[in-house]
Symmetry: C2
Subunit: 290 residues, 2 copies
């Protein structure tokens, strides 16, 4: 990968430099999206760009690029790097700030687009499932930051690092009222007696793109999926647990801490959810072909 | 101001550029300190550097600069800019990250030091006091981020911006259990019947440098100051309220929302606290002279 896009310019990564006074760097003042790329096409980009817009409105960061222009720049990064299966990240910050020596460009948001090939290990991990641990860190579900992907991402990093240090793949986070919120870097789904439930956004779940697509379309495929506040007891009693995000799609969780979920193998409802997600991906791709 | 320090190099601000793949920019993965400078000297630098070290340990970011080297670089920034009364910011991030096109320097932390003249309006505002509003945003006092100054600072920014939008100077934040935590960018002190109380760190207060110095030394000056969990009712019943940070030292809060604190003017105990802070500053300066 040798081309990134910084503020509309296409550059080698080593040339993509931002001011050290950028508010994204000094204050975590910005937002990002991670977008799935298949067959060289950006999937669910409307949903990603709408969520990015919402985050920037919450942060009161004015944007200078419309969705069409943004899409064109993203596509150009993918094409320039000849990527097929990839992960593309769009990062927007407030740009250089006052109150510290500012290197010009005052009041101009910073836009950075970069892409990397998709992690090839995801498919194999889906066969086995991953192991999650309950984090000691609680998600403050009432914070305005809980429902946006802001650059102030250290809490999720800490939760994930703690999980990895303990020998797990991912962390599950409760909210500050003790109910299930999400995973460090994914949404969480709990299956019991064939019914799939996921915490509502107001409980501290990021409004994930795959999560949203599954909520809208799982019913069409005969799966019963609904939002519901979930307690630790629901997690303990689950037949299946899964996490979803743009890169994983649907990933079975086969253990939570030392306790196996069900028989410790990916279950049929999770497989059904993955099928729905794969159909939605295929529908996105065929829309490109039209 | 025309000289900053980036990774040990002294540069014009417009030349201080970091990789767009810096974890500080992409993920808010780093920490900072804002240090008071008087007579061209860094005050409480031992305390600031110790707190920075602690933050970097929490974030598992290895540092490459000892306190002596860091102090020398900070002092050089102040001297190069011929600053007398100033605010110096030390920013440390994990540096460029993997998983996105990284522009070399992998695994090397980024260190950025910049200083600006002190806001000359602080003294006048102390005479009048400031007006604070109770934020809708709650501080998650159980998060490991609550007690460090991380680069994931968007929540404090949102609280401050909300206050300013409503016509106030600062926001007071409750913790997620509904007790008083701190101000958006300062610690909070409540005075009743001559006794000063401030929330403990476990309640969501950042371990502020001025806060810590006051807690250690106010008693010597005949002030009764203690840590205590504080409820909204304590705030409502307060004779005086003040906020402290490195740049404000001790700032009277004369109104919380539409309600005046006491008679709406800075009170004698707050003046006493400011006197203690000013003595501590003077002691720091005379230590430099020795």
């Amino acid at each position: 990968v040798s081309i990134v896009c910084l503020n509309g310019e296409f550059l080698a990564p080593e040339s993509a430099r931002i001011a050290a006074t950028d508010a994204g760097f000094l204050l975590g003042d910005g937002a990002f999206e991670t977008i799935r790329v298949e067959e060289g096409q950006l999937l669910f980009h409307r949903e990603h760009f709408a969520r990015l817009d919402r985050a920037l409105r919450v942060l009161e960061i004015p944007t200078h690029h419309g969705p069409e222009e943004l899409l064109a720049m993203c596509q150009q990064v993918i094409d320039a790097n000849e990527l097929n299966l990839a992960r593309l990240r769009v990062t927007v910050s407030r740009g250089p700030v006052r109150g510290l020596p500012a290197a010009g460009g005052e009041g101009e948001a910073t836009l950075f687009i970069a892409a990397t090939p998709m992690d090839p290990g995801i498919r194999a991990r889906r066969e086995q499932g991953i192991r999650a641990v309950l984090s000691n860190i609680a998600r403050n579900h009432r914070s305005p930051l809980a429902s946006i992907k802001s650059l102030s991402y250290a809490e999720s990093l800490l939760a994930r690092r703690e999980a990895v240090r303990l020998g797990f793949d991912e962390a599950l986070l409760l909210n500050t009222d003790g109910r299930l919120a999400e995973a460090a870097m994914a949404n969480v789904f709990v299956v019991r007696e064939g019914i799939v439930q996921t915490p509502p956004v107001r409980e501290g779940a990021l409004p994930g793109i795959i999560r949203g697509a599954l909520l809208r379309h799982a019913g069409d495929c005969g799966l019963r999926l609904e939002e519901a506040p979930l307690h630790l007891s629901d997690l303990v009693a689950a037949d299946e647990v899964a996490v979803t995000n743009t890169m994983l799609l649907v990933m079975p969780v086969v253990a939570v801490g030392e306790r196996l979920v069900g028989d410790g193998r990916p279950g049929p409802v999770t497989r059904g959810l993955l099928g729905v997600a794969e159909e939605l991906v295929a529908a996105q791709l065929s829309a490109y072909e039209d």
